[in-house]
Symmetry: C2
């Protein structure tokens, strides 16, 4: 229903009570497992641009976003950037560490500031020795991420910057759960791997179609379903995959 939307607060997870929404992975595990894990989770406040892990640097923690959004990006040789994935309350950041790697050629940072629950990587691996429900959920989530990645591969090759722009806005809109959120065209250009001028043109088309409104770093989604229609089918493919998650 609401793959990246808000969910009801879960009183069973003490550390999560101060955020506007729980992490959906953590909310889905049995109370006993929640309690066992709660002591090892640290509630952290992530500021915009805060780094979670850097290219080829050790990954020390995984993060379960509560109300923040994380971007995973590739820095190419010529210092251009492309976003390869995003993470919200539906999942966790630190896939490489979960999957047994110690580092990755990509980096993750906070895109939309907010709270997250942090878990030490070594603690996580000890925790999984018992092989509980969370482990299964994280595997299942990993699958959704691979679909997300694969769809991005196809999308970047075949769809116009305007379609991809609309999709990015629609997905972020789903994630933040508000119609208005801060976003500069410069930043969006970096995420999409296109020039700011290209974003400017796409954004104007979307605005003139009455789908969005914006002014100086603040964007508002006016017509959600219109935005979905303006986006490529990748929006639906990805959404469906995430809706399959428990």
């Amino acid at each position: 229903m609401r793959p990246w939307g808000m969910a009801a607060a879960d009183p069973l997870l003490p550390a999560a009570t101060t955020a506007r929404q729980p992490n959906r992975l953590l909310a889905a595990i049995p109370p006993a497992e929640q309690n066992r894990l709660a002591l090892d989770l640290t509630l952290v406040e992530l500021a915009a641009k805060a780094s979670l892990y850097d290219i080829d640097e050790p990954i020390s923690h995984v993060y379960f976003p509560l109300d923040c959004v994380i971007s995973v990006v590739a820095d190419l040789d010529d210092e251009t950037v492309v976003e390869v994935a995003t993470v919200g309350a539906e999942g966790f950041a630190g896939l490489p560490a979960f999957l047994g790697a110690t580092s990755s050629p990509h980096r993750a940072f906070c895109q939309v500031p907010g709270q997250a629950l942090r878990l030490d990587v070594d603690v996580m691996h000890r925790f999984f020795a018992g092989d509980g429900v969370l482990h299964q959920l994280m595997l299942r989530y990993t699958q959704a991420v691979t679909v997300f990645l694969a769809q991005n591969v196809a999308c970047n090759q075949l769809h116009t910057s305007e379609q991809r722009c609309a999709r990015w806005l629609a997905q972020t809109h789903d994630r933040v759960g508000r119609d208005t959120f801060p976003l500069t065209q410069e930043f969006l250009g970096q995420m999409l791997g296109v020039r700011r001028a290209t974003v400017s043109l796409s954004a104007q088309v979307l605005q003139q179609a009455g789908l969005i409104r914006y002014r100086r770093g603040l964007i508002t989604v006016v017509d959600e379903s219109g935005l979905h229609a303006a986006a490529c089918s990748c929006y639906d493919v990805i959404r469906r995959e995430f809706e399959k998650l428990p």
Copy 2:
């Protein structure tokens, strides 16, 4: 050293002895675990274009390639195709099933014909209940695949068709372990998500530079390191990631 290259034959895995090389995941697990698994593995011959699983159809088996190469592709609305990943003897096909999904919005088929060891998905999950070494290896491999996917996302957005063409040829060259292999420009165009005419131009540049030779569906890599130089840095990023695997 040889992330996608040949490896010495492994006599411990009976079912694999008829192929020119073993599957590297299976070769890396302890003999006891190998023996326990061997009974459930079926040696299959995969013809070119053979389907391993279809879009949104149940995935019944995972495949451990011996000397074949598998393509995972996305079919977009307008019946265009893009390859999102490839799988060789270094890994396995059927990631969605391994990660707990029953189907996926992408499909997998045999690109280079050859042998593979097939494992029933239910049997696999029962086998993993004991949580052995193979499970860990497959997780670790999953990580490499996510890096592969992520790099493809960036690459498709930022690099020229000529660079991507060179990278695809270099990677396939590594995989098949021979300098000459069958490949039409039409097929390569589909994998890269570009027109055949575009491949034709790229291929000519590479040929005139003395890096490759080809004639009617048969391509030969002449200058391997030259081809690496003509490819984008994505080649190295991905190679390094796969070299980290056990």
